[in-house]
Symmetry: C2
Subunit: 232 residues, 2 copies
DNA sequence: GCAAAAGTGTTTGAAGTACACCCATGT
DNA sequence: ACATGGGTGTACTTCAAACACTTTTGC
């Protein structure tokens, strides 16, 4: 048992929506609660904020218990969830993060932990279903105006493979032709020079690419109201 | 004096970057600390998260002590600031918000509180300078792809007046011609039918407009990778 | 009439979608 | 040969910036 602490102080949790594209659909990393509260339901990886770390360091520390951190290609803050009744007392405040894992990493996970398709979530604990949805919305938005794809894609890939990743994440068809042009114009894709072998049915060998940078960059900063003399 | 509370719990603060365009420049609402820590320095409006409120309710409650809440046209979460050394012990975690006040409101503020131009901030307490910058960056970004201008503009206005607001907030020249076309095309401006009287130097009377909605709406959701058959 | 400010028309360019067509490989 | 998938070329659309020109006022 734990007491509720001094008046005006709250346990602060950090939690992570870790997404990965699997089987042409986004999946989120969840673990099944063995004990109350909410035994049997599925939770996002989470943990208590420690005294000598900020929330980002904390979420990385806790994530390391569920996945190899080296395979989490990007982490960013989603926001604070603080409804006083978001869980049973004592009251907890949580800072949520979005984490992304490339498809070529297949991190080992503990027995109680598994990837779940976001379109068919199992019963989730507390507000974790809502938070997962927020994470996916953030990813979808940023695919359009940043290079965040680097965190979903393998080290090298063909445009077709990348197209499938984007289509899975966005939930709608994506044209390989246009995807290549958009990302090339923005300078986020670099050809490796190598080509991939065709499949068993034949076809022209595909050129392979990689992302130029592996840090988040906004590639389409504003659609309108740019400073004068800035092109357009 | 206050103790540091039970291990693993932290005081949670909420604070607000309240912005308003004054004298053709963005200003932020700050109050001067009378007591240690950081006596004499200027702080963002802030307060402790209460036991029965979420962070947004809390920031509204604390803001009400500094400004008339009815004059804050928009509030949104910026993020969590949690560096263990962002202030003196005991450690405090803070959720920051952005608040916007229209130019036609001139809220009464307490004696210790004043608007300060963001381009000439006085010495700020803790990390409040950085947080202020974050708030301004958020405002600038959203001016381009949302209708957030409604929260800066008076109830009705001419396009010239609106142009001056946008230019002040963005920090660069804005063309009234193009501003009107962009906002009209997006359906965020509505003509009132009335016209404003010309100034003493003459000139054609300006038509007046108002914002169609007074809730935040994303008007330019994605520049690229839209679903097929969605125009383009 | 003239200056000042508002507003419209039009040109230019960039970005993105759609689609036709060519290329390289396997069987 | 021909099917299969990869890639380029190009037309079309939308959006927004730039700028010339017209409109309506005060003096």
């Amino acid at each position: 048992m734990e007491s509720s602490g001094e008046a005006g102080t709250y346990a602060h949790d950090v939690l992570a929506v870790v997404l990965r594209i699997t089987e042409a659909v986004p999946s989120v990393l969840l673990w099944q609660r063995a004990r109350e509260p909410q035994a049997g339901r599925w939770s996002l990886p989470a943990g208590r904020l420690g005294p000598d770390e900020d929330v980002e360091a904390s979420v990385r520390r806790h994530l390391a218990e569920k996945v190899d951190l080296a395979e989490v290609a990007h982490v960013e803050q989603l926001g604070v969830f603080s409804d006083p009744h978001r869980g049973p007392p004592p009251r907890r405040v949580a800072t949520a993060f979005l984490g992304l894992v490339p498809t070529d990493a297949d991190p080992a996970v503990p027995d109680d932990t598994a990837w779940h398709r976001v379109d068919a979530l199992p019963p989730t604990a507390f507000d974790h279903g809502v938070i997962t949805r927020d994470g996916l919305d953030r990813l979808r938005a940023k695919l359009s105006y940043t290079n965040i794809g680097f965190a979903l894609a393998p080290a090298t890939f063909t445009v077709s493979e990348l197209r499938d990743l984007y289509a899975a994440a966005l939930g709608h068809r994506v044209s390989a032709t246009n995807l290549q042009r958009v990302l090339t114009r923005r300078g986020v894709l670099v050809p490796t020079g190598a080509t991939a072998a065709p499949g068993p049915a034949g076809g022209r060998p595909a050129a392979t690419f990689r992302f130029c940078e592996h840090a988040l960059r906004v590639t389409d900063p504003f659609a309108a109201l740019r400073p004068p003399g800035d092109g357009g």
